[in-house]
């Protein structure tokens, strides 16, 4: 349950903060959620990783399908040197997932360290 809640919260907070702030705010969003929802660091990482992976992949995919992959096809040739919109969407998801996951891991470790200080 905690896992699902933190997954959802991370995605929501990332979306909201990204409306006004730079892209890397997703790491901060995942960090905050991990600080407040107590989970094992591994689980926290996984929740945020999945959260951002799903969020970025689904968003990129839905934008791209409304665009009939016109842009993704061109940008994938620039970045991946092959015409492969699917791979570009996957890469997008992975980047979000890694940054988010690491943010959450840091958050979870911070909570762990703070608890430790108080003891």
């Amino acid at each position: 349950m905690k896992f699902l809640i933190s997954l959802l919260l991370t995605a929501l907070l990332s979306f909201a903060l990204s409306l006004f702030l730079p892209w890397w705010i997703i790491a901060v969003a995942a960090f905050i959620v991990a600080v407040f929802i107590c989970q094992h660091p591994g689980k926290a990482f996984l929740a945020a990783f999945l959260s951002l992976f799903l969020f970025w992949t689904i968003m990129a995919w839905s934008i791209s399908s409304a665009n009939e992959d016109i842009l993704a096809s061109k940008v994938s040739m620039v970045i991946l040197k092959q015409d492969n919109p699917f791979l570009l969407i996957l890469l997008t998801g992975l980047i979000g997932a890694l940054v988010g996951g690491l943010g959450a891991l840091t958050g979870s470790l911070a909570r762990w360290a703070m608890n430790n200080q108080r003891q």
Partner: protein, 818 residues
């Protein structure tokens, strides 16, 4: 222990973000670029994107409604003229912001700032060449002139405000793709940027000369050889304006145009001081165009028809943006330049107007003798005249800035000196005298044409055009047609400025400008049409020298077709604009057919047969066209390359008609012999040898499946950045070529085709190889290209306000005062 874990994780996270946010390690800031809420995904415009909008902005004077049709062409209806140009600026920015700014950066020599110095410092060298040519200086001069006209000032300011209104409300996510890829942000627009853009067009159209190369040629050939290779008057010349009894040229020049007394020794002499450098950034020689207008006497309807297709570099986003501009006072429609207000080529309810390049040489070099190494004074008429200096600051991405000092003389900037060398062997100080440096308010010409109602108003409008000189074509609903070669042109003596001139002596200066009324022109001629295709505007009976490099064949074939045409319809004119007949091949054919086929091997004989049975048309699928183009190119190389290589310095390549006419007139043409062999080669030897050599290339092309003309030519429409192929359209299947009315070369060709029938209500057709949106993620980025390649046209709809319920209108934008 836990703190160490924490610190490690935190550092790792920050490190990853740093990595993905910049291009220090990765080739691109992948995180920033791929974030779906910030990066390039935001440029993926939905195919059913809505362009509706309600925009309220402080400072607008009235209401403006923009109806956007199914091709994304905006039809702007403004109550107030200032608002019209505001909205034009806003729309240009909305659809073309990156390109507008990039082109002005290119004009101002600021590309290194965003792209870095480039491989082999190429981009930096380009920037320096633009600075040293005085592009920024020229734009500053035209600003001064523009500010003298309150109407122009108001127009340019309204336009800038419109661009800035768009930039101000744009979010980071809406930033055009190229800014994201290159990692920079747009600056505020200013009237100065518009001035820079217009100077860029001057550079593109009136910035090319081969004066340094011609100076080399003069120094390496005898006078007789020089005049034969670089003959100015082609036998096929049909001047834009012939000298006729009813429309005679001026009899004598306004000033005495005798060459300076010492010209024989100083200017026409052999000095063996050839330069070794050659400007690698010259505007393409093929930047030409076709235009013609036929009178009612030659058309089916009895009304004039005007046609224009400017040939420029084929790029994405396109140079052109189609739109309609309407106020209660006027309504104009056509192709506009993102970066400048007004319609540039188009029509209004009364007249149609278009341009081809005049191609006059208005850029000359003077050799400067400085007093000492400080370059503070130079010798002029026996005295030391002080120079001024201008420091150009060039910022370079990822490097410290470069200060480039340019010395200015009364001729203009000293483009080449010890820091920017024209010769590897010695220091040559060459100042540029360029018409684009003189102040003029050229934009006023377009403003005037948009509003003009008749011939007199057209003439008053184009008089504002100083540089680049253009063949301004005109047709009116009331039945008039006309053409003026307009611009401010120096009155030159024969060959003045073809070579570097001495800068120490006032007798080599341009003596005067030709009076505007003496510019070549023709109005309602008895032959029933006016036309131009960058050929010489006049024959040698015109009292002024007009320059040295002009194409002839498009002009020849256009006039031949128009001479025999009658009952013309707009469809006939569209067909003619896309015509692929190769008239040069018609002339060259009988020379090539003199080949002795007995000495040919089997392959060469096969290609000879392909050529013999060819219909002289450079159509898609034609093998004959490929054979001709390669064979002729090879023959030119064999005939001239031996002599040209011997010189060992850059030389101008002879004109397209030089070899055809030399061989036609003289079968023992002296350059035929290969000077590197003891044998004396004849034309027959060279014909066989060139076909043999061409056969090797042709066989290779055929093996690669590229034998057909459109594949061998391989037309491409490249993105302005040149290096990002996925944003370009490569391998466009289209016929035509050099010297053909459909002048589509590899990366240069008809950039806007327009045919206007001057009926009541105006019936017009047009197309350009691009799309209305500059966004590579939009379906409107390149959606006209296939139709353009296929020779199709769209109907240009001059909308009336009351037609706002028409089904062609897809979206509406309303601009209101806040």
């Amino acid at each position: 222990m836990r703190l160490i874990f924490l610190a490690g994780a935190a550092l790792f996270t920050i490190g990853l973000i740093y990595l993905l946010n910049g291009s220090q390690v990765l080739p691109a800031p992948l995180g920033k670029l791929l974030s779906p809420q910030h990066g390039v995904w935001q440029n993926a415009e939905a195919v059913d994107e809505s362009f509706d909008g309600d925009i309220s902005i402080r400072g607008l004077k009235g209401n403006t409604d923009v109806y956007i049709d199914e091709r994304l062409v905006p039809h702007v209806f403004a109550e107030q003229e200032d608002d019209l140009y505001f909205v034009q600026g806003y729309l240009h920015a909305k659809f073309r912001l990156w390109q507008m700014e990039f082109q002005t950066h290119a004009a101002a020599g600021r590309l290194s700032e965003i792209l870095g110095e480039g491989p082999d410092s190429r981009i930096l060298q380009y920037d320096r060449s633009m600075r040293r040519l005085g592009m920024v200086y020229a734009a500053e001069r035209s600003m001064e002139e523009m500010e003298k006209s309150p109407a122009s000032k108001a127009q340019y300011e309204a336009y800038s405000n419109g661009v800035n209104a768009y930039i101000d409300q744009m979010t980071e996510a809406e930033l055009p793709l190229e800014y994201k890829l290159l990692g920079y942000y747009p600056e505020k627009w200013t009237p100065f940027k518009t001035a820079l853009f217009l100077k860029y067009m001057s550079y593109d159209l009136a910035g090319r000369e081969d004066d340094l190369e011609f100076s080399n040629a003069r120094d390496n050939f005898s006078k007789a050889d020089f005049e034969s290779i670089f003959n100015i008057l082609s036998d096929s010349l049909k001047p834009v304006v012939p000298n006729t009894i009813e429309n005679p040229y001026p009899v004598k020049p306004v000033v005495d145009l005798a060459p300076p007394a010492n010209a024989d020794s100083l200017y026409y002499s052999f000095r063996n001081d050839s330069l070794t450098a050659s400007d690698p950034f010259k505007p393409a020689r093929e930047n030409g165009s076709n235009n013609w207008a036929v009178a009612g006497s030659k058309t089916k309807s009895g009304r004039p028809i005007l046609a224009n297709d400017p040939h420029l570099g084929l790029n994405l986003p396109s140079l052109w943006f189609e739109m309609q501009l309407t106020t209660p006072e006027f309504s104009a429609y056509g192709a506009s330049f993102p970066g400048s207000p007004n319609v540039i080529i188009g029509f209004n309810e009364h007249i149609a107007f278009g341009f081809t390049n005049a191609g006059r040489d208005v850029k000359d070099y003077y050799e400067i003798q400085f007093q000492d190494q400080g370059n503070n004074a130079y010798l002029y008429n026996g005295e030391w005249k002080p120079s001024t200096k201008r420091v150009e600051i060039i910022r370079i991405k990822g490097q410290s800035l470069l200060r480039d000092t340019v010395v200015y003389t009364h001729f203009g900037p000293v483009m080449y000196d010890h820091t920017f060398k024209a010769s590897e062997r010695e220091v040559r100080n060459l100042a540029v005298r360029w018409k684009a440096h003189d102040s003029s308010n050229d934009g006023l010409a377009f403003y005037g044409l948009n509003h003009a109602k008749n011939y007199e108003e057209y003439l008053a409008a184009i008089r504002n055009l100083g540089c680049p000189g253009q063949n301004c074509i005109f047709a009116s609903r009331s039945g008039d047609i006309g053409i003026w070669q307009q611009g401010e042109f120096p009155a030159k003596w024969r060959r003045q400025g073809d070579f570097i001139m001495p800068g120490t002596d006032s007798s080599y200066m341009w003596k005067a400008m030709i009076p505007q009324s003496e510019n070549p022109h023709m109005v309602n001629p008895p032959r029933g049409y006016v036309s131009s295709a960058n050929q010489l505007s006049t024959d040698s009976s015109y009292p002024y020298y007009t320059g040295n490099v002009f194409p002839v064949y498009r002009g020849y074939i256009i006039n031949r077709m128009l001479d025999s045409a009658s009952h013309i319809t707009p469809e006939d004119m569209m067909k003619m604009q896309c015509d692929n007949y190769n008239v040069k091949a018609e002339f060259a054919r009988e020379i090539l057919l003199r080949t002795n086929t007995n000495v040919l091997d089997e392959t060469a004989r096969k290609y000879f047969e392909t050529f013999r049975s060819w219909d002289l048309r450079n159509e898609i699928g034609s093998m004959g066209a490929t054979v001709f183009e390669l064979w002729w190119q090879q023959l030119q190389q064999l005939i001239w390359n031996d002599e040209f290589t011997l010189a060992g310095v850059p030389l101008p390549w002879p004109s397209e008609y030089a070899l055809v006419e030399s061989l036609k007139n003289d079968s023992a043409y002296k350059f035929t012999d290969d000077i590197n062999t003891p044998a004396k080669e004849s034309l027959e030897d060279m014909l066989a040898l060139s076909l043999k050599k061409a056969s090797d290339s042709l066989s290779r092309l055929e093996r690669e499946g590229r034998g057909q003309w459109e594949k061998a030519k391989d037309t491409r429409i490249t993105h302005l950045l040149k290096v990002i192929d996925p944003l370009s359209r490569l391998h466009v299947r289209v016929g035509g070529g050099k010297g053909i009315i459909n002048a589509t070369n590899r990366d240069n060709g008809p950039s806007w085709r327009m045919v206007v029938h001057m009926t009541d209500g105006i019936e017009a057709y047009g197309i350009y190889p691009g799309g209305q949106s500059g966004n590579p993620g939009s379906r409107y980025y390149d959606n006209f290209i296939d139709d353009w390649a296929g020779g199709k046209y769209y109907e240009l709809w001059m909308m009336k306000k009351e037609e706002n319920k028409d089904k062609r209108i897809r979206w509406t934008m309303r601009f209101r005062a806040a």
